[in-house]
């Protein structure tokens, strides 16, 4: 009994951090509609800044003022990010801003490395709260009790701010209808900045407050990201009490998981989420988003046309040129080109979902990594020949997409996105923790193609045929009746349903197809590298896909491929430098600000400005 209570108390104490960070994410999303990927980075900064302050400020007063100051400082950093990076891109198409926040993640990672070094730091213990009390014989740290006592007050203060003050009224109004709030004379940009400050400050506080329990390291930004997304989704988007309940639920379950089923701690969180969302699709205390038919932000996508005969000849000629690449004699170039084509196919499959279907999947790496693992497991566990493994990889990835798609498509918008992310993380944690079967962190090695493909040049030709074939297939489907039905379901679900289109089924099939093709990319990948590790299906990989699709241009057919090719090339070049993340992050931010319609979209606009005379449609 004593142990049980002690574990519940530990869980409640852990919930404090999770709640603080998650409520910040939820607030920022509610008002600005920005999915702030950099939220984990604010949390990490809070921990590091807090650590440095605690070195200087002594005693209990020093400790607690360090915590508050970290919140304040991180909040101000949030303001800098909002003003410099996000303000210029508010007018860009929906969700484009998340690319900018991804750039911020990279920049903050390297800045933290620069300032605090690569070593993990151990947080100081809180002065005056170093001891333990015995509850039914079990030791419980005093600091835990302090956290447990504090969190409800924070919840209450936030709740009061949002529901009972004038600022709260503005925030809630902006959550429902930004344009109307602006029309009523509220300075929207400062409201956004203010909310960003508050959200970032909460993340910073969360980072600082967990120092005595966890310390600070450079991986904590991504490590907490999935957990806070899960908390926000389980609690219900925009509900503070919901976020608190979900944080407690997840943290307490996690503590029990560690003691009783240590092999599945990571999976547990996602299982809980899946169960909650099956029963309550919009979270415990969330409500269905009444989006209304506002349509897309910005100008709608242009009508698409099948490629002209001339374009086809040009593409065919370029392909021949590409196939001749091994003749150049550079082994390095062939390997790089293989990588790029594989990444392009992955990006094209995500673009199919995102661009044509309007289905923003945050967890597309699940199918890439999934395909790779299916192939690798068939070879290593079942001794399957490469050819069979290669054929079954997309089947496996497609099956995963069928199941995940079915679960996720019951939701829409950001709930859909979050659920795809969480389920992808579920797959990742399965692979990561199921050591005996998947090799866990050590991955699966020694997976090589059959003899006829073992030469790098031959494998390159194989990659071109399969990879480019997949890209062309997706492109053709975009022009087929099915592709049109997919776009129709995105443009006006109401009209589509009223003219006989089963929109959910169309989207489900598109989701499965995109998953299967990502699986093909995964299979190409595993046999080109000879190995696969869990990071091929983790969040960062999914984000890479999202970044290139947005950078290339969501509303253009070739956006995904162009974005992927340029990103992979630049990354290959930059990773030779020590602080490549900083450089890449800054580059992404610059591109985002200069080309808010993506590379292809923005180039097209420039081209049109020079070629077309202004024609006023009559």
């Amino acid at each position: 009994m004593g142990l049980f209570i002690a574990q519940v108390l530990t869980g409640l104490a852990n919930a404090a951090t999770l709640f603080l960070v998650a409520s910040g994410l939820s607030l920022i999303f509610g008002v600005t509609r920005i999915v702030n990927f950099a939220h984990g980075s604010f949390y990490m900064l809070g921990a590091f800044v807090g650590y440095s302050l605690m070195q200087v400020l002594p005693g209990a007063i020093g400790f607690w003022s360090s915590v508050l100051l970290s919140g304040l400082i991180v909040g101000l950093i949030g303001v800098i990010v909002e003003v410099l990076v996000l303000r210029p891109v508010y007018k860009a198409p929906e969700l484009f801003q998340l690319v900018a926040t991804f750039g911020v993640i990279l920049v903050i990672q390297d800045l933290a490395l620069l300032v605090w070094g690569a070593e993990d730091v151990l947080g100081p213990r809180a002065p005056g709260l170093k001891g333990v009390v015995r509850i039914l014989g079990e030791p419980v740290p005093l600091y835990d009790l302090a956290l447990i006592a504090m969190t409800p007050f924070v919840l209450f203060a936030l709740w009061y701010l949002i529901t009972r003050t004038r600022i709260g009224v503005l925030v809630r109004a902006a959550t429902q209808d930004r344009e109307m709030v602006a029309a009523l004379g509220v300075n929207q940009s400062w409201l956004f900045t203010g909310v960003f400050f508050l959200g970032a400050a909460l993340a910073g506080l969360g980072g600082a407050i967990q120092l005595p329990k966890g310390g600070a390291d450079l991986l904590m930004d991504f490590n907490i990201l999935a957990a806070i997304f899960v908390v926000v989704v389980i609690g219900g988007m925009g509900s503070l009490p919901g976020a608190y309940i979900a944080a407690v639920l997840i943290s307490v379950l996690n503590v029990f998981g560690v003691s009783y089923i240590p092999q599945s701690t990571l999976v547990l969180m996602f299982v809980v989420m899946a169960v909650v969302l099956t029963i309550r699709p919009y979270g415990l205390l969330g409500r269905e988003e009444v989006a209304g038919e506002h349509g897309q932000v910005g100008e709608p996508e242009r009508p698409i046309k099948p490629a002209s005969v001339r374009t086809r000849w040009i593409v065919a000629a370029l392909l021949l040129l590409l196939l001749a690449l091994p003749l150049a004699g550079s082994h390095f170039l062939v390997i790089l080109a293989t990588d790029i084509i594989i990444f392009c196919l992955f990006a094209a499959s995500l673009h199919f979902l995102l661009g044509l279907g309007g289905l923003v999947s945050f967890g597309h790496a699940a199918y890439f990594g999934g395909g790779a693992y299916v192939a690798a497991l068939l070879v290593s566990q079942a001794n399957a020949p490469m050819e069979l493994a290669f054929l079954l990889a997309p089947v496996g990835a497609g099956m995963a997409a069928v199941i995940i798609g079915w679960l996720c498509l019951r939701l829409t918008g950001v709930y859909f996105a979050m659920l795809t992310l969480a389920l992808a993380q579920l797959l990742w944690s399965l692979v990561f923790q199921w050591d005996e079967f998947t090799g866990g962190d050590d991955g699966i090695v020694d997976i090589w193609p059959s003899a006829w493909l073992s030469d790098a040049n031959t494998y390159f030709v194989f990659t071109v045929i399969v990879g480019v074939g997949g890209i062309i297939l997706l492109r053709h489907i975009a022009h087929s009746p099915f592709g049109y039905a997919l776009r129709a379901s995105r443009d006006s679900q109401r009209q589509a349903e009223a003219t006989g289109i089963h929109t959910k089924r169309v989207q489900w099939m598109a989701f499965s197809l995109a998953g299967a093709l990502a699986g093909v990319a995964g299979a190409l990948f595993v046999f080109s590298k000879g190995s696969v590790f869990p990071n091929e299906l983790e969040i960062a990989k999914s984000f890479d896909g999202l970044i290139v699709v947005f950078l290339g241009g969501v509303k253009t057919l070739s956006g995904g491929v162009v974005g992927a090719a340029s990103f992979e090339l630049v990354k290959d070049y930059l990773t030779r430098f020590e602080y490549w993340r900083l450089a890449l992050g800054l580059l992404i931010i610059v591109v985002v600000i200069l080309a808010p319609y993506g590379i292809v979209g923005s180039l097209r606009r420039v081209y049109e400005r020079f070629t077309t005379k202004s024609v006023v449609p009559s």
């Binding site: 709608p300 087929s480 009746p481 099915f482 039905a485 776009r487 009209q495 006989g500 289109i501």
Partner: protein
């Protein structure tokens, strides 16, 4: 009212609505509404904002499930059936606020509906733009906008969007058209034009039409019969002359703002 109903049910009605009701929480939006739509009939459903017209429409085509009551299409019960299934049974619909595919051209919008009608939605092989072009073009000519075929739908004027929606609704040769405020948001002259066009088309093809409308000129000029809905209840049902001279209707429409203390959109 029951006499009138009995009178109109006689000659092969297309749609039969029997004591349809819908309540949202405590609000009784539609209350015990019954009527028939005769073959080839242009039936207008009028009433002030918030009377329950759109709610009624949404229940007929399955966008909303009725709380009680039944809907029969050509004798087959379609109560609560999904919109896409009702559509397959031969019911077309246009919306109060247009819903077209902004990323496609005008003609592609129609081709999309034709593809659905010919059950080729899941086909991966042909180019969609090349399917049923002639049929789509014929429909565009019918609604008088063939020269707009290749324009992006996103840049159409509102009146043209309404006409496009009409063309889309005609794709599967419906026996019944439900038109929710077909002329809302259009200039007066365009309104008459569009309604005249609709009347001509449905007469040629003997399609029945149920439509809601706020413009009395349009209603009196084209409707064969008029029903008046107020606060969810059908208060009158009769010929154009009957309704024009009906005191209760005059009360509802002209009797000052007291009928509805606060007018809200009936979306």
């Amino acid at each position: 009212m029951s006499e009138q109903n009995a009178m109109q049910t006689g000659s092969g009605s297309v749609l039969q609505v029997q004591s349809l009701s819908k309540s949202f929480g405590g609000l009784q939006a539609v209350c015990d509404v019954s009527f028939d739509v005769g073959k080839g009939e242009l039936l207008a459903l009028i009433g002030p904002n918030g009377a329950g017209k759109t709610t009624c429409f949404n229940m007929l085509m399955g966008q909303l499930k009725p709380s009680s009551g039944d809907v029969f299409l050509n004798g087959e019960k379609i109560t609560g059936m999904l919109p896409r299934k009702v559509w397959r049974k031969g019911v077309g619909r246009t919306f109060q606020i247009t819903g077209t595919y902004a990323s496609m051209t005008v003609i592609e919008n129609i081709q999309m509906a034709l593809i659905s009608h010919h059950k080729r939605l899941y086909s991966l092989k042909p180019f969609a733009t090349r399917l049923y072009r002639d049929e789509a073009m014929a429909l565009l000519e019918l609604v008088g906008m063939p020269e707009q075929a290749e324009r992006a739908c996103a840049i159409l004027a509102y009146g043209d969007l309404k006409r496009l929606e009409l063309a889309i609704a005609l794709c599967h040769q419906p026996t019944l058209l439900l038109m929710d405020e077909p002329t809302a948001g259009m200039a007066p002259r365009e309104r008459i034009g569009l309604m005249q066009l609709t009347a001509d088309i449905v007469q040629q093809r003997s399609i029945s039409v149920l439509f809601t409308e706020h413009d009395m000129d349009v209603v009196f000029a084209h409707a064969h019969r008029i029903m008046v809905l107020n606060r969810g209840e059908l208060i009158a049902n009769g010929s154009v002359d009957d309704i024009r001279n009906n005191e209760m209707v005059q009360q509802v429409y002209l009797g000052g703002g007291s009928v509805f203390a606060s007018e809200s959109d009936d979306a």
